[in-house]
Symmetry: C2
C-alpha cells in the first residue's frame, strides 16, 4: 500500500508517523511484555476514560487459512497473524467466529481515539485514555502519543501493540499493556458506565466532574452491537446515559467526553 | 475492494450503505446539476455550519496519466476521473499540482462530517451542515443523510457527488450542490470564522448561540495547512478562536461545535 507524507496543519507532523512514535512519551525502564507498573505521579487526581470491550484483535488462528484472510493479508504484504481482524475486509471469514457481530471493528476504536487523544486535557495530564480489549487486557496511551490519522497505519500500529504488548517495540513505550484485566486495572476505583439503557440521564460535564471528584473511571462500549458483558456490568458502580438516550456511536461518546474534559479543565483553571 | 455489511449498534444500519441513501431525506423535483432552490422551511432559524475550502476534489486531468494515479485507479477498478484525489494514495502524483499541500484530504472531511451529521441537532433540524469546496461550490447534506463510516465508501460517495452534483443520481437528493460559490450561498448572512489566528477567544457554546441568534453561518477550515483564501477571509464578519488557540484538527472543531449544538438544543427545549 502506498504511504504518504501527508501534509498537516502543524509543523511537527511533517515527520514520518513511525518516527513520531519515538519522539515523546513516558519514561519506563521495563521492556518486557508484562503489565508495566503504575508510576507514582499517576496517582494524582485524573479522569480515566476507558473504551470498553473494544472490537480490536489480531486475526484468530481459527480463520487464518480462510481464503478471504489469506488474500487480504497478501495484498497488504502481511501474515494473517500480524493483521487486525476487520469486518470491513474479513466480513465473510469472520462469520464462523463466536460472537462475530461484536468483533473486528478497529474503525470504532480509531474514530474514538481521534476524538480523545492529542487534545489539551489529555496532553496536559487531566485525563488518561485506555482501551480495554475483549480478552480483558487494558492498553494505555502516553499523554504525548500521536495516533496515525490514516486508518491502515493505525491498524498496523495496533497490530504491533497486540503482538508485542507495546509500541514502539523498544525504548520508551507510548502505547503499552497496563493491566491484564479490567478488575485489576480498576482496583478500588469505581466505574461510571455510559449506556443507552441506563435509567439515569446526566450531562457529560457532570459525569466528568463526578469522575474527577470520586476518582472513578468512565467507560463506554467500543464494539458495534449488543450489551456489555456480565463481567463489565458487574464492575460498574453507576450506569448513566447521555444525550437523552439517543443511540450514539462510540466516537460520539468520545466527542461528548472530550468536550466535557475541556469544560472541566476550564473550571479547574478558572 | 471487499465490502462488508458491517454490524452496527442499531438495527437500521443493517442495510447496505447505498440502499440507505435512498431511504430518507428531502423532497425535490429538480434533478439537474444546477444549484437547487432553497425551500421555504429552510428559512426558519437554524445554525449553519460550513466546512470551508475542503480538500475534496476529483483527480485533476493534469495528473490523470501519472503512473501512481493509473495504478491506484486500476486497483479500485475506477477511471482516474471517477476517483477522489487523496494524499494518502496520490502523494507522489500530486506534488506537481498548484498548492498541493492544501488539497487531497478527503479524510479531513470524512472525520469532520462523522462528528456532525446523524446527531440529534442535525437530524432534528436545529443545524445544517455544508461543505464548501476549493472550487467555490457549496455541497448540502439532508438532515437524514447517513454518511458511510467506511472511508473507501465515503470517497466513492463523494466522488459521485462531485461528478453528478448530487447523490443518489436520481430521486430525492440526500447530498446536492446548494450554491456555486460561498458569497451566493451566504447572501446577506454573516460568517463567523473559526481560526487559530483570531485575536478573540470564545466558548463554542457562545459562538453557536450567537450564530443562532444572528442567523450567521459558522465556518471552519477543512484543509490540511495554511491560511484561508482571501475570498473566504473577505466574507468573514467575525473571527474567533476556541480552546485557547490550541492547534486543532478540523474534526476537533466539528466535535466542539457538535457538543455546543447539543447544549443549544437543551437550552431551547428547557
Amino acid at each position: 500500500m502506498d504511504e504518504a507524507e501527508v501534509p498537516r496543519r502543524d509543523e511537527r507532523t511533517q515527520i514520518n508517523e513511525d518516527e513520531r512514535l519515538g519522539t515523546n512519551g513516558r519514561v519506563s525502564e521495563s521492556t518486557d511484555e508484562e503489565a508495566l507498573p503504575i508510576a507514582e505521579d499517576e496517582l494524582m487526581a485524573k479522569v480515566t476514560v476507558v473504551l470498553l470491550e473494544a472490537a480490536l484483535e489480531l486475526i484468530p488462528e481459527q480463520i487464518a487459512g480462510h481464503p478471504q484472510v489469506v488474500r487480504t493479508a497478501r495484498r497488504y504484504g502481511l501474515r494473517p497473524g500480524e493483521m487486525l481482524l476487520d469486518a470491513g475486509i474479513h466480513w465473510k471469514a469472520m462469520r464462523s467466529l463466536e460472537a462475530w457481530w461484536r468483533r473486528g471493528r478497529p474503525d470504532i476504536v480509531h474514530l474514538s481515539l481521534l476524538n480523545l487523544l492529542e487534545k489539551a486535557p489529555v496532553r496536559e495530564g487531566l485525563a488518561e485514555v485506555f482501551v480495554h480489549l475483549q480478552d480483558g487486557r487494558v492498553i494505555a496511551f502516553s499523554p504525548g502519543v500521536r495516533v496515525p490519522k490514516n486508518y491502515d497505519r493505525f491498524k498496523g500500529l495496533m497490530a504491533q501493540v497486540l503482538r508485542l504488548g507495546r509500541a514502539p517495540p523498544e525504548g520508551e513505550p507510548l502505547i503499552w499493556t497496563a493491566a491484564k484485566d479490567l478488575r485489576g486495572f480498576l482496583g478500588n476505583r469505581g466505574l461510571i458506565l455510559l449506556s443507552e439503557d441506563a435509567e439515569v440521564e446526566e450531562r457529560p460535564a457532570d459525569i466528568v466532574r463526578e469522575a474527577y471528584e470520586t476518582e472513578s473511571a468512565i467507560g463506554f462500549g467500543a464494539f458495534p452491537r449488543g450489551p456489555f458483558s456480565k463481567d463489565v456490568l458487574s464492575l460498574a458502580t453507576k450506569m448513566v446515559r447521555i444525550r437523552g438516550g439517543e443511540p450514539l456511536k462510540a466516537w460520539d461518546v468520545a466527542c461528548a467526553l472530550s468536550c466535557a474534559l475541556y469544560d472541566l479543565a476550564e473550571r479547574l483553571k478558572g
